[in-house]
């Protein structure tokens, strides 16, 4: 499974064609009949099997990575689900990876502010953990109507249908562990 040219083929074209007629100075053969050959550069890389993140058909994909950068994404011909083909979304998956619309830092918006600020990742994680603990401690319900319920009503979690099984499992486990009952994902909207 070969992949992305190293550089646009305009720069990479190495001319190697030669026709006998040209040696005599003027190439008088009609253009249609001439055959020429131009060697183009094609870049190879490590091939990583993957699965398409879009719909639920689960098309097999081959991601080609070279020097730590993803350089091409195509269908996986061995996958019996798609036999190497993809739909437009799958075929555009490369732009899901290489896209300058992708923010690279953590953004934070203070209450009532009108603009983002960038913040370090660890700061955000610590603050989120504190907020979770603070809300949980303030509004935890141990008993309701005389029944033991152990519910933390203050936290809600949304999301999951686009994420891996491993995340769904440990996230559901963490939420239940914290007593969160408001856990939902796309399955029902």
């Amino acid at each position: 499974m070969l992949t992305r040219r190293e550089f646009l083929k305009r720069a990479g074209a190495v001319t190697a064609g030669a026709t006998i007629a040209s040696v005599s100075g003027i190439n008088i053969k009609p253009v249609q009949a001439q055959v020429s050959k131009i060697k183009l550069q094609v870049k190879e890389g490590r091939q990583v099997p993957s699965v398409c993140p879009y719909c639920s058909v689960g098309c097999g994909m081959i991601i080609t990575e070279s020097e730590g950068k993803i350089i091409n994404i195509e269908g996986n011909p061995d996958s019996p689900l798609n036999l190497g083909s993809l739909c437009p979304k799958g075929a555009a998956a490369f732009q899901l990876v290489e896209n300058d619309n992708r923010p690279k830092e953590v953004l934070y918006r203070a209450p009532h502010s009108t603009s983002w600020e960038t913040k370090p990742l660890d700061w955000a994680m610590d603050r989120i953990a504190e907020k979770v603990k603070e809300d949980r401690d303030n509004s935890f319900i141990e008993k309701q109507d005389g029944k033991l319920v152990n519910v933390n009503p203050a936290l809600a979690s949304l999301g999951g249908s686009t994420l891996e099984n491993e995340w769904n499992y440990i996230h559901a486990k963490l939420m239940r562990g914290l007593g969160v009952v408001n856990v939902e994902n796309h399955a029902r909207i």
């Binding site: 070969l2 646009l8 305009r10 074209a13 001319t15 001439q34 050959k37 094609v42 993809l86 075929a91």
Partner: protein, 270 residues
């Protein structure tokens, strides 16, 4: 002298195409073609690409063929791109021989030679070529010449979910298409027809199975080489130059006779 090693081509069966545009995106993804920076709705069904040009080397056409009472409603799709013709109009008019016949019998624009004279744009009977904004040279589908050299099939043929775009040796594809045509005609696609066999520009290496006549898809039923009126042009102009030469000489000479007469009258009259 480089020989044609194998005649590669594509057979595009529009009865299997459901207009998903995976081919368009796969082509852009492999060839690193930029997207239209300010796209807008064209209002023509689900086709918002509009036409083939420097950045869109593949364009899926949407043709809504529905009667007013909706009794017979059809939605035809066609994934259009360069046909890699045997008699290539673009190759014939290219003044720098930048458009070459490759060893896979495909038509390829050599971007280091092309001077951007835009002459091949009108040379192509299907309107497939246009100047690429990025490269400043003529651009069109290359049948993934670099992938062919690496022994792969073109990106669009690989991406097509329903194998509507079938890549392979042209002869095998033609036999396959003939078989498919018989099946379709027997299975209720009365007007199914192959478009691009020998009698169209010597045979198109990328040929189609249409569900109706070519005009319905905006394809010329009898495309010609651009040189069809060139000879006429030469003859008419040779004739005209001859006429101009004659006219100017005659008028030149008649002026002289009149001049002599006047001189005689003046000399005799004086």
């Amino acid at each position: 002298m480089t020989q044609i090693e194998s005649k590669k081509g594509m057979f595009i069966d529009t009865t299997l195409c459901h207009g998903c545009k995976a081919c368009e995106v796969a082509c852009k993804s492999w060839n690193e073609l930029p997207a239209n920076s300010a796209p807008s709705l064209t209002g023509n069904s689900y086709d918002n690409t509009g036409k083939l040009d420097g950045e869109n080397w593949r364009h899926v056409k949407f043709i809504e063929d529905i009667s007013d009472d909706r009794k017979d409603s059809r939605w035809l799709f066609l994934s259009d791109s360069c046909k890699h013709c045997q008699l290539a109009g673009c190759m014939s008019v290219c003044p720098t021989n930048a458009i070459i016949r490759t060893e896979f019998d495909t038509v390829y624009i050599d971007h280091d030679t092309c001077i951007g004279c835009k002459y091949c744009i009108t040379g192509c009977p299907f309107g497939v070529i246009e100047i690429g904004h990025l490269s400043g040279t003529a651009e069109k589908c290359t049948l993934c010449y670099d992938r062919l050299q690496a022994g792969q099939q073109p990106a669009c043929a690989q991406a097509c979910p329903t194998d509507s775009i079938e890549f392979g040796e042209v002869e095998d594809l033609v036999t396959m298409a003939k078989k498919r045509e018989q099946y379709l005609q027997s299975a209720g696609y009365g007007k199914a027809q192959i478009y691009g066999d020998k009698n169209i520009l010597g045979g198109l290496n990328v040929f189609y199975m249409l569900e109706d006549k070519p005009e319905k898809y905006g394809l010329p039923s009898d495309p010609q080489m651009p040189q069809k009126t060139m000879v006429g042009g030469y003859w008419s102009s040779v004739f005209s130059l001859f006429a101009v030469g004659l006219v100017s000489l005659l008028s030149f000479r008649s002026y002289r006779e009149r001049k002599f007469k006047e001189e005689e009258e003046t000399t005799t009259g004086a």
